[in-house]
Structures are given as structure tokens and as C-alpha cells.
């Protein structure tokens, strides 16, 4: 399991739940009766308490969670990997060994936390302290990090040096055993949070570099719209669509959710004889509106048949089918399309310019979902620029608009008692309220876990 502690936008507000669970387990390990047995670590002169062996940890996990040997070892490994327990003999080797190698708990300040990620300033202070202690003998990767940080946060470097000196002076005030523990703790923290980077990571092959450059170039060339223009068109869009919005303008004949009368849906279904006026008006807003409405598409097809350019719309529909259909059927569908629309001398040959045609024919050798995209786009724009405006000016459309019905609002009957109930069913909000009250009473009585009966 990998825990990705770096979020996209920087600081997380909450500690990740997996880390909270680990913390709870660590705290339960501290129990004087039920926790892990601790021994003393003997160094040359000093004795430091609170050390435990890897075997102790694994055995405790087996007993506490009733899990197998393997699983206990894996869980223990997680504790070491994320810095809650650190090894004493081989600090750079962050693994748990189920033998008598010693480990110790990390102090809560240095626990892995998504709320307080390890900062560069702290790392710089740590390296400066180490530099002082070791009289300049830092390890290779630490030297590199030190130099990089010196360049990057140069403006606070004085602070780094001052703070490093002061922190060392402060720790000198403690007795020797505590000082050793402090240094081991800090070292373990930084080994977890700034692990040495292996040289392979640095090798960016030329291929990846080129893809990165290409990607960035495309992103730079992306079309960007000024927000003033964007907002103007957004306002226009809202104004245009407001009469068509059932919630804002109210819908005729009546809102089915209020009056339980489904006439509105029936009148606007796909297979109705005469469409409503609003619906037909919407087709004139944009080409996509026309194509998205099944009835609109049919009408447009009839018009195109009259103009002898129906194959354009059929081709476009076939391409949509390829794009959104089953992957297994793509090769045969593409083949069909080629035979019907693209082959020279095909029955419904579409007029595509030579460049796009060449590209498409090349791609047909290895058909995939988006191989017909360029051709489809070309035909779409052809229809949009040419046939669509003519359709809107045509007799066919105007007749349909004239014949389209404007539904009457359901008459409220004269006698109040004859009127259909405006709110025929109880509001769902009331239903949940009563359920919650019942639930709460039951919960307090029976002390059960679930309170919602919704």
C-alpha cells in the first residue's frame, strides 16, 4: 500500500484516516499492562530505556489483532516505513526484522502528518545542525540537498544558521541519554521524509523530455478567452435559455412534480406528432441542439434528402456510433463506414478534402475509436456552415414552427373543491423528519448503532 501524502494543492486540512489508525495502534502499544514489553538499550556508558525488539513487535501484533505471522510482519513494516517506529542499529535501513534488532517509538512531533508536511526550512536547519556536529562531513546526497537549499531559500539562510546554532545550544542543556535520543529521532524523521534519491531517478530519457516539451508547447498554444468576453457570452446564453427553463419560467401545461399531471412529458417526448413551439425554437439556437433532439435530427434529415446531401448526416451519425459504441465492434463498424461513405465510387460518398481523406485512409489500417474523428469534424462543420442556416430559413422549418403547439395551462377549476391538489403527496422533507424522530427515540432506548430508518 502506498500512501500519497502530497496533495495537489498543498496543505491538507485533515490527517489522513490511515495515519490516524496507525497512531491509535501506536498509542495502544504504550499500555503498561497490555502494551509491548520494553527493554533498555545499553550504549558504552549510558543506558537508554524504551527499546524493543522486532520480534516483540510482531508477537504483540499477532496477539492483539489475531492475525498471521506474515500479516503482522507487513503491518509492522508499515509502522517503520512511515516513521512511527525507527530502528536503532541500522537507521538507514527502514525495515522491520522479526528478530532481536532493536527499535524505538518516535515522538508525536515527528509523526507523519498530512497537516504538517516536512518543510524545506526545517530540513535546511537540520542539515546545518548536522554540518556543525560533523564538522562538514555530510553524506553525498545530503551535501547536494544542502547546496540546492542554500540556493533556493537563500533569503532566509541567515535565519537557518542562527536557528541551527541555537537549537544545538538548547539541546546541550539536556543530559546525554536524552541528547542521543533527540538526535536519533530527528535523523529517523528526515530519513523517512527526505529519503536519499537513487541516481536512476535522475535519468530523464530524451524520449520523456521530448514528450514533456511537446505537451508544454501544446498547452501554451491553447486558446484562452478573456473572462470579460466569457462572461458576456454567458449572460447572453442565460438570457436566451431563460424562457425555456421550466424552473425559471414555469412550464406549460403544468409542472408534473406539483400537479401530478404528466402531460408536459408526453408532449415533449421523442415520438410525438407535433412538437411544442419552445422545442422547435430551441433548434435555432445552435446546431448541437438540433442534432441532440431526435425529432430535430429526423426533420433535418428530411430537409437534407431534399437537398441531396443526406449522406453527410448519415456519415456523422455512423461516426458517432463508432465513437460511443462497443470496442469489439469497432473494426467492423469502421469497415462498414469505409465501404458506404469513403471508398471511391461508394453509394453515399461524402465530400471530404484530400488531406483529411489521406489521413483517414492511413488510420483505417489500424482502426481505433477515434480514427474517423477528423473526417467527422470536417463534415460537421460543413453541415453547420452550409446546410444548417439554410434549413433554418427553409419553408420546412418555418411551417413546423407555425404548426407547433403552445400547450394551454391547465385551467384551475372555478370551484375550489374541484381543483386538483397542488401538493398531492406529502413533502419528502416532512417524511424524513418523522422518520428521524422515531429513529432517535429508538436509538436512545435500545442503544443500537444505526439511527436512520430512511
Amino acid at each position: 500500500m502506498t500512501i500519497n501524502t502530497l496533495s495537489q494543492d498543498g496543505v491538507q486540512r485533515q490527517q489522513m484516516p490511515c495515519l490516524t489508525k496507525m497512531e491509535r495502534m501506536i498509542i495502544s502499544m504504550q499500555d503498561p499492562d497490555m502494551g509491548i514489553k520494553l527493554r533498555n538499550q545499553r550504549l558504552l556508558i549510558t543506558v537508554i530505556p524504551h527499546a524493543m525488539t522486532g520480534l516483540d513487535i510482531v508477537e504483540w501484533l499477532i496477539k492483539k489483532c489475531s492475525i498471521s505471522d506474515e500479516e503482522a510482519l507487513h503491518v509492522g513494516q508499515l509502522f517503520v516505513k512511515y516513521g512511527y517506529i525507527y530502528p536503532l542499529k541500522e537507521p538507514r535501513n527502514l525495515i522491520l526484522k522479526a528478530d532481536d534488532s532493536s527499535y524505538r517509538f518516535q515522538t508525536p512531533y515527528y509523526w507523519m502528518s498530512t497537516r504538517w508536511p516536512a518543510s524545506e526550512l526545517d530540513y535546511a536547519i537540520y542539515l546545518a545542525k548536522k554540518n556543525i556536529r560533523k564538522q562538514g562531513e555530510l553524506i553525498e546526497y545530503e551535501k547536494e540537498c544542502y547546496n540546492a537549499l542554500h540556493k533556493r531559500i537563500n533569503h532566509t539562510w541567515d535565519f537557518v544558521v542562527m536557528q541551527a546554532r541555537e537549537q544545538l545550544r538548547a539541546s546541550k542543556q539536556r543530559r546525554k541519554g536524552d541528547r542521543i535520543v533527540l538526535e536519533c529521532q530527528e535523523q529517523a524523521y528526515w530519513l523517512v521524509n527526505r529519503p536519499p534519491v537513487s541516481p536512476e531517478h535522475y535519468k530523464l530519457t530524451t524520449l520523456t523530455k521530448n514528450t514533456i516539451i511537446e505537451h508544454n508547447r501544446i498547452s501554451l498554444a491553447r486558446n484562452r478567452v478573456k473572462s470579460s468576453i466569457c462572461l458576456e457570452s454567458y449572460v447572453k446564453y442565460c438570457e436566451q435559455y431563460q424562457p425555456h427553463d421550466p424552473i425559471m419560467q414555469g412550464c406549460l401545461p403544468s409542472n408534473p412534480w406539483i400537479t401530478d399531471d404528466i402531460m408536459f412529458w408526453n408532449m415533449n417526448s421523442e415520438t410525438v406528432a407535433l412538437p411544442t413551439k419552445l422545442r422547435v425554437e430551441r433548434w435555432s439556437f445552435s446546431f448541437m441542439e438540433l442534432l441532440n433532439d431526435q425529432m430535430g435530427r429526423k426533420e433535418f434529415l428530411t430537409y437534407l434528402e431534399k437537398e441531396f446531401s443526406a449522406e453527410n448526416l448519415c456519415f456523422w451519425q455512423a461516426c458517432e456510433d463508432v465513437r460511443h459504441g462497443e470496442t469489439a465492434k469497432i473494426p467492423e463498424k469502421v469497415d462498414e463506414v469505409y465501404k458506404q461513405f469513403l471508398a471511391p465510387g461508394a453509394s453515399r460518398w461524402v465530400n471530404i478534402d484530400s488531406k483529411t481523406m489521406e489521413k483517414t485512409l492511413e488510420g483505417l489500417k489500424r482502426p481505433h475509436r477515434f480514427v474517423l474523428d477528423d473526417a467527422q469534424m470536417h463534415i460537421y462543420f460543413l453541415m453547420k456552415k452550409d446546410s444548417y442556416p439554410r434549413y433554418l430559413k427553409s419553408e420546412l422549418y418555418k411551417n413546423l414552427l407555425a404548426r407547433a403547439i403552445v400547450p394551454q395551462e391547465t385551467k384551475k377549476s372555478v370551484f375550489p373543491f374541484m381543483r386538483r391538489q397542488r401538493h398531492s403527496s406529502p413533502s419528502p422533507a416532512l417524511a424524513t423528519q418523522t422518520a428521524e424522530d422515531d429513529g432517535k427515540a429508538k436509538y436512545s432506548n435500545s442503544n443500537s448503532g444505526t439511527a436512520s430508518r430512511l
Binding site: 520494553l38 512531533y109 536557528q163 541555537e166 545550544r169
Partner: protein, 242 residues
Amino acid sequence: MGKDECKTMLDALNKVTACYRHLVIALGSTSDSQNLREELKKTRNKAQELAVANRTKLTALLKDKNISKDDRAEYERLWVLFTSSVELLEVDMKRSLEIGQDFPLKVPTRHLIQTGMTGSTTTVAARAMSVQNMKYEADANIDTVDLKELETEIAQVDQMMEEMEMKVQVAPWAVEAKQEAGAELKSTVSVGNSSVGVISICEEEPKETVEGETGLMKVFAGIIFTGVLLIAGILGYLVVNL
């Protein structure tokens, strides 16, 4: 001189911040205690006083329009030192609130983490407060009462930092540090010599386990024994020959 005063005050703030961090590291571990909580409170208050004093002094100096360019650059450098110090302090205060809430001292079911640190932090706090001995006079429930005060103080520090950012126009990236890389090695105060030998125990593979100790002893014993044998042999030879 304004600059020297500023520098001494900044040094004091720096010292207290370092000590405060040291104390916060001990929170939640076995060296946590009522005393530690009181030390944290006192150190924190001292740090805030120093921060406010520093701020007034530095803002007054920076607002002055009649200072030379060099002076201004120097004050900006001091300002960056000051803001970094206060930021560190703020983070440590927030963390101490979090850890303090997670590890209340009086609840028997919440155990402190056994980190191996058992000594007290009195000397560190005494260094922060610049006194010889610390006096402890707080109530028994300081761990819970203090947390509420801590919250208000964090809010105050946050507000102070916001005001600072708004009122003083100093570009931190434009400041150049005086110290170059490795400057801390030229320190005249030897901070690490006494700990250098001890730290190597943590770093490399220490042979100072119980088995290692007896091994070492064995080698010594062997050397002494062979030495004694040699001397005995030489004496015997001399006795025989003379």
C-alpha cells in the same frame, strides 16, 4: 544604535523560538509532564512579548524614509529574519495545540509515547526564560486550561502576521543572506564537540551492544594476558641465565 538593538532583540527571539521548538518535541512523550506544559506556556508568552517588541522596533525603522540604501537593505534582512522566526513560532504553537489535545495528562487511558527520553526539560526552559531556576506555580489542570489560551494566542499571532504582511512592503526574495554556505562551521562557539563521539553511536553500526562490549573486554583481557606471559617469560629467561 538601532541596528544593534534590533540584532540583540532578534537573537533573543531566535533563542526563545529554538527552545520552544525543543519543548514542543517533548510533548506527548515520556518527558511530558505538568511542568512541561507550564514551561511551554511561559516560553510561549515570552516569545510573543519579544515578537511584539521586535515588530514595533522594526516597523518604526522601516517606515523611516530618510535612511540610506545600505541601512534599508540591512533592515530588510533583519525583517526577513524576524518573519521567519515568527512563522516557525506560529507553526510550533499550532502543533503544540494539536499534540496537547491528543495527549491529555490526566486521562489514565491515554498513554504517553515511550520514546526513551526521561529527563526533564527544566534547563531548556530556564535558558529560554534567561533565569537560573524555573519556578513552577501552576494548577494541576494546566494541560486543559492552557489549551484554550493557546487557541486565542494562535489567533493573535495569525492576526499579527497578516498585519505585518499588509503594512510592511518587503520583498523577501530580494534579500541576500550575509552567510554563505557552510558558514555555521566557522562558529567560534563549539557546539558539537562533546556530542560528536556520542552521535557516531547512532549513525554507523554500533558495536556497543552487550555482546560487543564483552567482545571488546575479551580482546583487552587477551592483550593483558599475553603481556603478562611475555614479562614472565623474560624474567624466567633472565633468572635462568643469571
